[in-house]
């Protein structure tokens, strides 16, 4: 089992966290999100993203609004809700603790 396979589950779990982070910066639509992710280890596809975003919307973490685009029909632009921002803050906090632990454990 390669490292890549081993961390498949971790990457999958972290995707939601990264979405919160991306959406927190500015209003984005799915193609923007995919583009930002495509250059990272978290590169993913619409087939994964749409169901995940709809789940996050059901949980009240994100919301969207329709915006006219210069070419073609209106698009859904996603933004964080107050609850989403709160969760992002908590997760960032948790993440920094985890990475601290990863760094410090086992060192003398």
């Amino acid at each position: 089992m390669s490292v890549d396979e081993k961390f498949f589950a971790i990457r999958k779990g972290l995707l939601e966290f990264l979405l919160l982070k991306i959406i927190s910066a500015e209003k984005v639509y799915v193609a923007d999100i995919l583009k930002q992710l495509s250059e990272t280890e978290f590169s993913t596809q619409e087939g994964t993203l749409y169901p995940l975003l709809s789940k996050m919307r059901r949980e009240g973490l994100v919301d969207y609004e329709w915006k006219e685009s210069e070419a073609g029909p209106p698009r859904k632009y996603y933004e964080l809700t107050a609850k989403g921002r709160e969760q992002l803050r908590e997760t960032l906090d948790y993440w920094s603790r985890i990475s601290g632990t990863v760094k410090n454990l086992g060192q003398k």
Partner: protein, 394 residues
């Protein structure tokens, strides 16, 4: 040169090569199946359609207005398969606070995977005749003895048990390979899931959730899973029924047999009706006077035994007629158009009307019939007593 199909994606029309259309259709059907049970299914599907449309638009230009099959395939592989974890981890609060068994039970059943269906087979191991009862018992997960008793009772009361048995012995395939045996005896995964979930205790889980939000989420998910489960059971039942029908058609070649509905059906129905009336007359004679049209019963034979024998004889005589009428109905249902259905309804109506009227007339205008109806409780009592005696004796 390829044929082109026009489709509508998110309100914009696209022209696709036919094979490309098929690929797109298959992708969207698969997506819909994977999102089965997701509350936002329709919205996600329309998002997906719109995203595909956007990609298609990027492929078109002034001179090129058809999306080629390989382009459709490229776009679909860019989209990737639908990955829906909503069933597994819906509601961060549930996952966080519910913990333990409740949230892992959701994860154990990925959304949209169809369970291997349980099938009805005849099981030769431990069979008495052809393994029909054995197979039925395995299918419904009950003791074969009960099924056998039910068949014996069916035969005694309507004479239909033997007919049903013979038909099933012909129609239902025998479980021969290990796979078929597994399908014949295994509890279907959906039912297993149902039992496990029920055992886990829906209310136990409810109690373990600290806040209302999580409880509501759990209840919603439970209900949805139950709905999916019943849909699965229905699907299995339909598949089994269709299988049996196919075998039946195959055996009798009925797919091509078109009976003379207009002529044969009323004749068969009248015969059936005449038999019913003869049977009722015999029954009345038996109940009222203890004789069958003047013929005295053998010494020592109680009336209820005679009634059972009469029921059996009647059942045996009438089942070919019943089967024929069913066959006509069946043939009619397979055929398109309303007149056939009308025949069936008419036939059934005439039948019920004739038998009902005669019964009513008999009870109200013949003292014998009246007497017979009055004697029914006594005879039934007799029978119950005899059975009790027999039971206590053995």
């Amino acid at each position: 040169m390829n044929k082109v199909t026009t489709i509508n994606l998110g309100g914009i029309s696209f022209q696709l090569e036919e094979a490309g259309y098929d690929a797109l259709r298959a992708y969207l059907d698969d997506a819909a199946a994977r999102l089965q049970g997701n509350p936002d299914r329709d919205e996600i599907l329309s998002d997906i359609e719109q995203a595909i449309g956007e990609k298609f638009r990027g492929l078109l230009s002034g001179y090129k207005n058809v999306i080629l099959t390989r382009e459709v395939e490229a776009v679909l592989s860019q989209m990737g398969p639908i990955q829906d974890d909503a069933g597994a981890a819906s509601g961060a609060s549930t996952t966080a606070s519910g913990g333990g068994s409740a949230s892992s039970s959701g994860a154990a059943q990925p959304a949209g995977t169809a369970p291997a269906p349980k099938r009805l087979y005849r099981i030769p191991e431990g069979a008495m005749i052809a393994g029909v009862c054995n197979g039925l018992a395995a299918y419904f997960n009950i003791d074969p003895t009960i099924v056998r008793l039910a068949f014996v009772l069916l035969t005694l009361i309507w004479g239909a048990g033997i007919l049903v048995y013979i038909i099933m012995a012909i129609v239902v395939p025998q479980a021969l390979t290990p796979d078929e045996k597994a399908a014949a005896t295994g509890v279907p995964p959906t039912a297993q899931d149902f039992i496990r979930r029920a055992k886990q205790g829906y209310y136990e889980a409810m109690k373990s959730f600290p806040d209302r939000q999580a409880r509501r989420e759990w209840r919603r998910r439970f209900k949805r899973d139950m709905r999916n489960w019943s849909a699965n059971v229905q699907r299995e039942a339909t598949a089994t029924a269709q299988d049996c029908r196919r075998n039946w058609e195959h055996y009798w070649g009925m797919g091509t047999w078109n009976p003379g509905l207009g002529l044969a059906l009323p004749v068969v129905s009248l015969l059936h009706g005449a038999l019913v009336i003869a049977w009722i007359c015999t029954l009345i004679s038996l109940l009222a006077t203890g004789t069958v049209f003047g013929v005295v019963l053998p010494v020592g034979m109680p009336v209820w035994v005679a009634v059972l024998i009469l029921l059996f004889v009647y059942g045996m005589m009438v089942w070919p007629l019943k089967a024929a009428r069913r066959a006509f109905y069946y043939g009619a249902r397979g055929a398109p158009g309303a007149p056939f259905a009308l025949f069936c309804v008419m036939d059934a109506f005439i039948w019920v009307a004739v038998v009902g009227t005669l019964l009513w007339l008999a009870v109200h205008h013949f003292p014998q019939a009246h007497e017979a109806v009055r004697n029914i409780p006594t005879v039934a009592h007799d029978m119950a007593d005899s059975i009790r005696d027999w039971w206590n004796h053995h």
